[in-house]
Symmetry: C2
Subunit: 352 residues, 2 copies
DNA sequence: ATGAAAGCGCTAACAT
DNA sequence: ATGTTAGCGCTTTCAT
């Protein structure tokens, strides 16, 4: 139960604590003999240096905080996995904090905990909590990197913006659009995701709107769609079972989802009431989760380069901690066509 | 960048450090006036007490280590989520450590890190690493609970066994068996999962074998299956694409998976080569992941009560930390029939 | 009710 | 090459 201390080791080895400390850190000169003796004792006593006491001297705790909305989402789980691995490779520990999306009380506690640990930096997926609590972190000039989402134009105490790494929805969204049009869809709508939660969802919606407008001159029918969207009862931007009926009434034949959870909801709902995905309704969603590949039909996705997101954000943070200026990064999204995109109903046989 | 210290607060408030400390801990008597003044200064300075320095006095760090094999597995992600939430509710921080399953070097580092943090206890999903590294934790008499799997009959330094909470495969497996037989299957096999990784998989296999033997008197055909299994080239127990051909040759019409990953592999493989699940091949798998509900056909599962597993293991650990004897717990598994279980090919129309 | 002083486990000057 | 001494930020006697 009782942890052995450096003093126990010193005593047992018949040397002073500082000698043991030196042996621990390879600092200063030590005779091979005493070093061997000390290591011997360390083994015997199963001594492990107390990293807390250790970190009180250096300004570094070699611990990075990772704040993610919900680890149960496989997208974030992947991200966490990658980040923890990368950090470990650089000798840092990761303190993963997941908080229930909405619960600002809980997230406040989490942030407090992080701060209390005197973390060296933080990697954050900004959620709705951001504005309220994140200042607590950035205020002190703690190196922080935003991942997957940006969060307005938050600035650190020194006036520098918090660098972020996220993905540019345009390339993927554009190609998704093209693919849908190619398949004959003219009434396309979007379920962006909870708009109030992150600017990411808002941006996806805006880009979608822009694309619609650009198509305007070429594809008259899509015009209607823009109107369609305003009638949407889910102002929040998340999916809502009511939407299915509405789409049917308005002749919407394709939907793009800004958030995988919503897509999954729709897939379930469609299965329940017998709407054939890829036939009655074509869908595309952001985030290329493993699930989407094994569903029948497979779901077309707009993939974010999650691997490089994970590794690069760590690099960015380490850069920041080293004091160098670090710019925000946008990764390209990539559209992956799959069978969930088919022709609109009533056009069967028209197109290969 | 610089964190405010208790001294800064004391100075600013014009009191001594000990007074501030008292205000922080609600210990001792303090006049309302100074307390208010101190809290005021704390706010102004954004002071957060250093939990490391704090925990050096009490023998408690109020931090629990959580060791899980792979956070990307939604089953473990769920578990981690539940556990972290429950611990937070009890005022504990969770240090989540995920390590690549096989990498014993990495897991050793992780364990070192945990130990260095002077964690108050640990919740562990024992993996292959167990035997080698877990002793490091239990040896000191650190309160440890095993979750989801047991790990041989490891004992702590005081001779007490490490309590574990896992699930009894029998109820679910028995019902799965019944259901398969009811649907007319007589050649059933199992892919238990990586046997060397955990006794859990071995147990599932053994229970499966027992069930086969029990059926022996009643159902002659299942006898063949027992033989089938021994020919299996994957001694490790994990799925292997070769198996599909083999099953076809041997007339295996139903497979039970001890591990969801293997089931997912098979589903993919079947899709690729056009084997119809629930028609050509019936499958059942452990772990009722969300994926299995939305696949078509939906996959029959043997569900573990993950929610109570998550909350109860925390209770067990807290109990242990409080010094009380704690027994191991086995939760019941439950079979959930879904469309992935149909009749064997060639018997269509025979059974409703 | 508050302050002074000792000490938690460790590191980092200073000695020697 | 090793020991002594002072802290790191905090809690906790023991005084006052």
């Amino acid at each position: 139960m009782a942890y052995a201390t450096i003093r126990d080791v010193a005593q047992q080895a018949g040397v002073s604590v500082s000698t043991v400390s030196r042996a621990l850190n390879d600092s200063g000169r030590i005779s091979e003999r005493t070093r061997a003796r000390i290591n011997q004792v360390i083994k015997e006593l199963h001594y492990v240096p107390d990293s807390r006491a250790r970190s009180m001297h250096s300004p570094h705790s070699r611990t990075i905080g990772l704040l993610i909305p919900d680890i149960r989402n496989s997208y974030f789980a992947d991200l966490a996995y990658l980040i923890q691995g990368e950090l470990l490779a650089h000798g840092f520990q990761t303190l993963i904090c997941t908080s229930t999306q909405g619960d600002s009380h809980e997230s406040r506690i989490q942030v407090r905990n992080l701060l209390g640990q005197h973390i060296d930096g933080a990697i954050i997926v900004p959620g709705p909590r951001s504005q309220e609590t994140l200042d607590e972190l950035t205020r002190r000039g703690l190196p922080v990197v935003y991942v997957d989402r940006t969060s307005g134009d938050r600035r650190q105490v020194d006036g520098r913006p918090v660098p972020s790494i996220d993905s540019d929805p345009l390339p993927g969204l554009r190609d998704a659009f093209k693919d849908l049009v190619k398949h004959g869809h003219s009434r396309i709508t979007m379920v962006p995701g909870p708009l109030e939660e992150s600017g990411t969802f808002r941006e996806r919606e805006e880009v979608f709107d822009d694309l619609l407008n650009q198509m305007d001159d070429l594809q008259d029918p899509t015009r209607d769609v823009a109107c369609t969207r305003n009638d949407t009862p889910s102002k929040e931007g998340a999916f809502n079972p009511e939407l299915l009926r509405q789409w049917r009434n308005q002749g919407v034949s394709a939907v793009i989802f800004g958030r995988s959870q919503d897509a999954i909801q729709v897939i379930k709902a469609c299965q329940a009431i017998g709407i054939g995905i890829g036939r009655d309704l074509s869908i595309v969603t952001f985030d290329d989760l493993p699930v989407f590949r094994i569903l029948t039909p497979a779901i077309a996705t707009i993939s974010q380069q999650i691997d490089s997101m994970g590794t690069r954000c760590v690099r960015m943070l380490l850069n920041l901690m080293a004091g160098s200026q670090t710019d925000s990064v946008r990764l390209k999204t990539k559209y992956l066509h799959r069978a969930s995109v088919g022709q609109p109903p009533g056009q069967a046989g028209q197109y290969p």
